[in-house]
Amino acid sequence: MNSAGLISILPFALRGRPVTEPGKRRRTRLPSWLVSWFQVGPLALILVVLFALPTCLFLVVSFYDYDRMGIYPAFLLDNYRELFTTRATWRVYASSLKFAVIVWAITLFLGFNISYFLIFHVRGAVVRTVLFLLCAIPFWTSGIIRTIAWIPFLGRNGAFNQILMGLGIASHPLTFLLFSDFSVIVTYVHLFTLLMIGPIANSLSKIDPALMEAAVDAGASRWRTMVDIVIPLSKTGITLGSILVFTQVMGDYFVVRQMSGGQSASIVSMLSTQIQAMEYPPASANAMVLVIFVAILVAAMMKVVDVRKELVK
């Protein structure tokens, strides 16, 4: 397994030899693009074999014919036609998109403000590290367990209702808290806010505080400094975080199934039902549509901010 790693380090060894005698110095230099290709080769190989080719495979299978016994090579558009003429498809896409937008807005607000607090307000590297770790520790617990942890928290006799009644805020337990759109959104926010905090904090930490001081010295208000300096300089992080949160919600398999109480479905849980029924061609068509949908969303976000230019310098 490690030979892949060795190959990528090899060009370093090939590029120059130890200098023994200054006069007899011989250097065999590979062209720099070849060195780069040695280094990225293993990554490219894995992504092509395990990601690009399987994706092409289900593009092909999405045109296949099928029955109870198996699947048959064909070129049919029936799987797509069926998908687009089913009302459930449109409903589930609309509901996933709704969740994605709401969760994106909340995690963006939380993620940006928390990152800002940790980077610019917290003094001392140790305190900052400890606070970051406090945010990260729950993520070592399985996502499935963190999801179902909300059930005893939000339930009828759950901790939250007990607290509300204990404080006299509510006279009877609130029932909309669990197995509803509300609990789905709460769970998503709980699971995905860290995906926003990471990239945004990374962007913010590259901003020179002197720049902000200069703006203040020049008479800018706190708000203007934020809008004209901090937000533009952190847009790469904001875009990356947004892409991660959006695609996680659109690709969700577990949360809606577990937390909506059967009131809504997600695109992927619908798809997995088809996979379990071995209906591979319609599942593939469904998958293809979702892939294209996500690709368009991500491309649009990357159009707004050229993430590549910012990341790869």
Partner: protein, 279 residues
Amino acid sequence: MAAGRIGEKRPWTFYALATLFGAFLLFLYGPMFVIYILSFQGENGGVTFPMVGFSLAWFREIFQPGQMANIPVSFSRSIGLATVVSLLTVVISVAAGLGFRRRFPGSGILFYLAVASLVMPSLLVGFGIGLSFQFLGIEPGLFTSALGAQLTWTLPFGLFAMFAVVNRFNRSWEEAAADLGANAWQRLRHVTIPILLPGIVGVAMGAFTLSYDEYARTTLTIGTRNTLPLEIYALISSATSPTLFAIGTLTTGVSFVAITFSLLLVLRMQRRRAFAKAG
């Protein structure tokens, strides 16, 4: 306004954001505390309040191979897989991160391929790989299809993390080493790697965590022998017992100890380094 000196008066935004941060931590830990408490549920109690007595029964349950699930075995499988994934991710993504410092033909395509692999709905990646194995007539397995499926997720993550790390790396350090007569291997071994080390450790830990907790990519590629998240999922669908909560409590406890330990280690190393400098 920002990053003021000690003793300087804090602006009101500090207090507003500190409150928000506090509320976020409450939100983050609220349900976690509920499961910590419920994991000590009495033997006749269920997965919700009220507590029926107090017991350690659910922790004992974890270590006994049960009828529903075999936690110890699936746990060791998860750890094994996560270790391999983490090692491969470090080696491959560090190399790729260094490679991406120059423009090369195809760099754009490869970059977008990595983005696509990262944002692709996880279950679909597993579906594609599972389908490919079926077409090729290969049995899916822990260290073949499942490992591959997880790499399509940890490698782009590792690559993006490396971009952040490599961006802060000043190439003139490498050039200085070259001017002083270091060969390529010496430059890598004594300059590049030590400077990038904190980032590399971050990639390793991140990849380990992602793999250890992976569900959607693994479920269609694992074959017959489950990893821990799959076993947990099976537990949820088949039976509801506080065992799951006990697993959560145990995981948090172990990671808490591990983090505290490594933090203390880092602090000690820093102090020693500062001491060496002063002396």
